[in-house]
């Protein structure tokens, strides 16, 4: 049967729909918008009405790759539940970052990503915020050392403060120093979260997961303390970038 142009067009469009469905299925039904990502989180984590509070995007264009790689971090809330989620997009693929689980918190949430610790909560009345992060060095069930890093907050949204900290490679090796004796200049937040949670063994070492205590303090315009929250971060959040 010879088809006219209109019928050929309809046939092609049907074929396109089928092929797209196949591609979309093969890609694992990726979401392409912030709303789509939050819809996915809602369904996956049995939540409802997630409202985006902050979207942080970062794009990279690796050499020899035609399409760039985009990272999208989302802070969202539903009621007084806050979530932090990270997605990676490359051409048609959009996947939830597999190395970083979704973080969920009640009342207040803090999560670190590439040199910034984001804290979300009912902060509308706060004029400023300070986050004190305290990495700890434990040896044989005993707390050997700890250091508190106070970080000044920058308002990023009605309910979000951002706390920047310097990232960087350490110039020392574990052969040179015992983590306990690390020189003061190497004891940055990043350095402490790396060295104090590192475990050496014959032929190598690894970074174990550990909770890093944080205290978030909110202040009003007059400098009076409004609220104080005890929170925690995983050391991987601080050191991984």
């Amino acid at each position: 049967m010879r088809l006219n142009r209109a019928r050929k067009t309809i046939r092609n469009l049907i074929l396109c729909a089928l092929l797209w469905a196949l591609v979309y299925t093969m890609l694992g039904f990726p979401p392409y918008t912030v709303r789509g990502m939050l819809d996915r989180v809602e369904r996956q984590y049995l939540l409802s009405d997630l409202e985006p509070l902050l979207t942080v995007r970062e794009s990279q264009k690796p050499r020899f790759q035609f399409f760039g790689r985009h990272t999208i971090c989302l802070l969202a809330r539903t009621g007084d539940t806050y979530v932090f989620t990270e997605w990676n997009r490359h051409f048609l693929e959009t996947v939830h970052e597999s190395r970083r689980e979704l973080k969920m918190g009640q009342g207040v949430l803090c999560a670190a990503w590439k040199g910034t610790i984001y804290a979300a909560g009912p902060f509308e009345n706060a004029a400023s915020a300070v986050l004190e992060v305290t990495p700890e060095l434990w040896k044989r069930e005993k707390l050997v050392k700890s250091k508190t890093f106070p970080l000044q907050g920058e308002r990023l949204g009605d309910q979000v403060f951002g706390f920047s900290y310097p990232l960087g490679y350490h110039s020392w090796t574990f052969e040179e120093y015992d983590p306990e004796d690390l020189p003061e200049e190497e004891l940055t937040l990043y350095g402490a979260c790396y060295a104090w949670y590192h475990e050496s063994f014959d032929g190598g070492g690894s970074l174990r997961h550990g909770e890093v205590p944080c205290v978030l303090t909110l202040y009003d315009a007059a400098g009076a303390e409004l609220a104080r929250y005890d929170l925690s971060l995983d050391n991987y959040e601080i050191t991984w970038w």
Binding site: R5, A6, K8, T9, N12, L13, L15, C16, L19, W20, L22, V23, T25, M26, L27, G28, F29, P30, D39, R40, E42, R43, Q44, Y45, L46, L47, S48, D49, T78, G79, D80, T81, L92, E93, V95, H96, E101, L102, M104, G105, Q106, G107, W138, E141, R208, H209, G210
Partner: protein, 248 residues
């Protein structure tokens, strides 16, 4: 006369707005014209006369052009071209798309789990969620490594398959029983130990369909529970209670 015909063809094609078709139109008009010329030559007409008559028979160039333009609609022409390009592009994408996200075995397993779904018993507690329904039923109570393990069976039925690929995640569920809160069982890398004593963990069976999910949770307790409450999200937008005595 060749030039005269070409001029006529050009005049016809100028009227056709969908320019990609002009070449094919010109080719077809030439076939008609050549057939007519050949017929006249066969009837014994001199070539010059035959060509002249054949050209006259082709009609008014502008009118023919308008008629052809009505048939070769630009919007349909461009839509057709676009659909062809799109089919080609998508065919290439099918070939180059990585298959690790949804493999054939994933499709098969999800479909099987979807079809194998058994409705939860009527006695199961039920929670209506924004995107689905959750059913909770108390299960078996047994001894496990010096603890009492109380199973709780979950049926989760979503309204659409959007969550299918990531599955349903219940890691943030919070449980409490008649003795207090139960933390999730976690591994402490510092002490290299799993949470001991009262806690909860995931257990078998586990099945993930497209919209239907089954899961069992195990509450590790010191003694058989009378009841347990599940609340979610962490602060508890909703709470559902399971009672073992009532179930038995």
């Amino acid at each position: 006369m060749r030039d005269k015909f070409q001029t006529w063809v050009d005049a016809v094609c100028e009227q056709v707005r969908f320019w990609p078709d002009r070449k094919a139109i010109a080719r077809e008009l030439r076939v008609h014209y050549d057939d007519h010329v050949r017929d006249l030559l066969r009837l014994g007409r001199p070539r010059e006369l035959a060509e002249e008559r054949a050209l006259e028979a082709m009609g008014n160039a502008q009118e023919v052009g308008w008629a052809l333009d009505r048939v070769h609609k630009p919007w349909l022409g461009w839509l057709w071209e676009a659909s062809r390009a799109l089919v080609l592009l998508l065919a290439v994408l099918v070939v180059v798309t990585p298959r690790e996200y949804t493999t054939l075995s994933t499709l098969r397993d999800r479909t099987r789990a979807e079809l194998d779904w058994e409705e939860p018993p009527a006695s199961a507690a039920r929670v209506e969620l924004e995107h689905g329904t959750l059913y909770v039923l108390p299960g078996e109570i047994r001894e496990q490594n010096g603890h009492t393990a109380a199973e709780v069976h979950l049926w989760i039925q979503m309204r659409d398959p959007l969550a299918a690929n990531g599955g349903v995640n219940t890691w943030f569920f919070s449980w409490r029983d008649d003795q207090g809160d139960l933390p999730r069982r976690t591994y402490d890398e510092r002490t290299r130990t799993w949470t001991e004593g009262r806690c909860w963990d995931h257990g078998p069976p586990w099945s993930q369909g497209w919209t239907r999910f089954r899961q069992t949770m195990v509450l590790l307790l010191d003694r058989p529970p009378q009841w347990a409450e599940l609340s979610y999200p962490p602060g508890g937008d909703w709470t559902v209670r399971v009672e073992w005595e009532a179930a038995s």
